[in-house]
């Protein structure tokens, strides 16, 4: 990357000659070509980035007042809410921010599923996304333990105990997670330490995610590649403006929960301080883990030589791991569901299946809920392992437009595209 002659300021030139940061920003965030037909679902990556920053900033400020000790953690949070200036605001933003993060990222992922964004050449971009999801889950899980309420404690106990199902090393792993022989002060301390660390790892992986995106460029609702300037608009001002709208509306949604329904996503039980001697009637994880919790509890019988508990754990992790190989399980040549009539239907069935799993995860694993959860779990895996590979082979896609500008205007580009193309020429 050589210095762009557009930099007139000598200081900027001096820096840019040695570290082309200005040229890079100009290239990647001003001139960067974006498909002109993107809809608002392409806002969600930007929204996720915003939430990540909000979480890190509020989290660092909360950590200044929080005490990671079993005797003081619960109380220190009450002090933050009552006596720290705007502490209640920080705490509510952080608490609801976790839910916002998952809402945004789940929509971001389903967008990818609908429009086939995980397919070549974006496989690695998608796989980095799955790594991000795993990191987010670990971070959220450990964060939820920190207030040391009843659900924090019992959730941590149930989930860490899962690792004991691993053959041979299981008990050793659990002791390592606990830092002792039960969920206790050592556990709280290491979870706090890791909860502070992981968002920075997350930042790094998001960085890679975005670099990969800037190599392959964005997919779009028609699922066809950009072929030239007539198909694209520069990131600035078009997507700075469009992302800003999304961010504004999203902040409105976020603020509504923070200011008017701050405990909407929470569990009343977590306002009771942790008590190792008293198990709550229903131990439920946060809403964003419910589908996975349903899968975990769906196995009630041993499978061949695998005990039920281990099988549940394997399926739960498998339900995310399977996303890594989705780009190869999907055999269709056409990307977007817009031109895949059967896949479009299958997509909604799959989304519905995930909701059913979430519903079952919130209910006790017995009677009809259990059966429903088992059927939904089975379908979850069938979707990836059977439906996706076969559908790609047998489905007849609708005719795909030859170019994005044709799809947008019904003809080969217009005057406006010419104007934006002129802007692009500069780079």
């Amino acid at each position: 990357m050589s210095t762009d002659p557009q930099w007139k300021n000598p200081v900027i030139r001096w820096v840019d000659d040695r570290l082309p940061i200005f040229t890079y920003m100009d290239h990647e965030y001003q001139q960067f070509p974006m498909p002109r037909n993107l809809n608002y679902f392409w806002n969600f990556g930007a929204l996720a980035s915003i939430v990540l920053v909000v979480m890190v900033v509020t989290g660092i400020m909360l950590a200044m007042q929080y005490t990671p000790h079993v005797d003081h953690a619960f109380e220190s949070l009450e002090r933050i809410r009552r006596d720290v200036n705007y502490g209640w605001l920080l705490q509510y933003i952080h608490m609801n921010g976790a839910s916002m993060f998952f809402i945004v990222v789940y929509i971001h992922m389903f967008r990818g599923l609908y429009y086939g964004s995980y397919k070549a050449p974006r496989e690695l971009l998608w796989m980095l996304g799955v790594v991000i999801l795993l990191l987010m889950m670990a971070t959220a899980f450990m964060g939820y333990v920190l207030p040391w309420g009843q659900m924090s404690y019992w959730g941590a106990t149930v989930i860490t105990n899962l690792f004991s199902a691993i053959p041979i090393v299981g008990d050793w792993v659990v002791t390592l997670l606990w830092g002792g022989f039960s969920v206790d002060n050592a556990t709280l301390n290491r979870f706090f330490s890791l909860h502070y660390l992981m968002p920075f790892v997350l930042f790094a992986v998001v960085g890679l995610h975005v670099v990969a995106l800037h190599v392959s460029k964005s997919n779009n609702p028609d699922g066809i590649e950009m072929q030239g300037p007539q198909d694209s608009v520069p990131f600035h001002p078009y997507f700075t403006a469009k992302d800003s709208v999304g961010i504004g509306v999203f902040l409105l949604f976020f603020a509504f929960f923070v200011f008017y329904a701050p405990n909407f996503f929470g569990e009343p039980d977590n306002y009771i301080e942790a008590n190792p001697l008293q198990t709550p009637a229903h131990i439920v994880p946060e809403w964003y883990f419910l589908p996975f919790y349903a899968i975990l509890r769906s196995v009630t019988f041993d499978v061949l030589f695998i005990p039920a508990k281990l099988m549940g754990v394997l399926l739960m992790f498998g339900s995310i791991m399977i996303l890594f190989i989705l780009p190869w399980l999907d055999t269709a040549k056409v990307r977007s569901a817009r031109y895949r009539p059967i896949y479009k239907f299958v997509f909604w069935v799959f989304l519905f299946d995930c909701l059913v799993l979430g519903y079952c995860g919130a209910k006790p694993a017995e009677g009809w809920y259990l059966v429903l959860g088992q059927v939904a779990t089975l379908y979850y895996f069938l979707h990836f392992l059977i439906v996706m590979p076969i559908l790609g082979k047998i489905e007849t896609p609708l005719p795909v437009p030859t170019s994005i500008s044709q799809a947008v205007t019904g003809s080969g580009g217009g005057g406006a595209a010419g104007a934006t193309a002129a802007k692009m020429e500069k780079s």
Binding site: R82, F110, A241, A255, I272
Partner: protein, 252 residues
Amino acid sequence: MRKAIITLISAVAFGVTGQAMAAGGVEIPKRDWSFQGIFGSYDRASAQRGFQVYQEVCAGCHSLNYIYYRNLMELGYSEAAVKAFAAESEVEDGPNDEGEMFMRPAVPSDRLVKPFPNAQAARASNGGALPPDLTLMVEARIGGPNYLYSLLTGYTDPPADVEVMEGMNYNAYFAGHQIAMAAPLSEDAVEYADGTKATVAQMAEDITVFLAWASEPNMEERKGMGMKVMLFLIVFCGLLIAVKRRVWADVH
């Protein structure tokens, strides 16, 4: 697809948290509270009466750990009144210059004095049952204020087929219906300073308002700020949409 996503979010959110059943599976009747709604605030007169009920009835068994005497000024009590409340109880302080612990009257910067020094003492005086701290009670139960009100007014005779265990009391809304706390409220259990008639329903309502305040003293500040933030964001979104339209005018 957009519509479907909205349905999806609301389905997930409401499906999970939208239940208003007590842990015992009984439906809790809903009531109107002054502190609900986007403009809601705590009814000060009711909260002050509730504090009186707390002091004269509940404080014999239940602590209010996260409340300091100074907080009571937010309910409209004067500084002198709060000092007087505090001075009624003694707290342990020290060590002094001789290394001894000593007792002194409480001051506004102290926490409300607990009825029992520790959980064992509390259990010993309550037939083995632990009276929980009440500071967060309204947030710590499904149904919140409605549950608390129902619990306090829900002491009835047990149905014919239910046998109430020794030391237990029948309550229509408590999980399992058998609660170790005897009905704490009875007609005219307190004599209200403002002359309000102290019926069980009135006292239950007042203590609920007081405990709702105790669970979230910042609620009014939160809603007030929320209004400003939301109004700002609505205007801001309008501007952003206008800007976006202009920028994109030549593309569409």
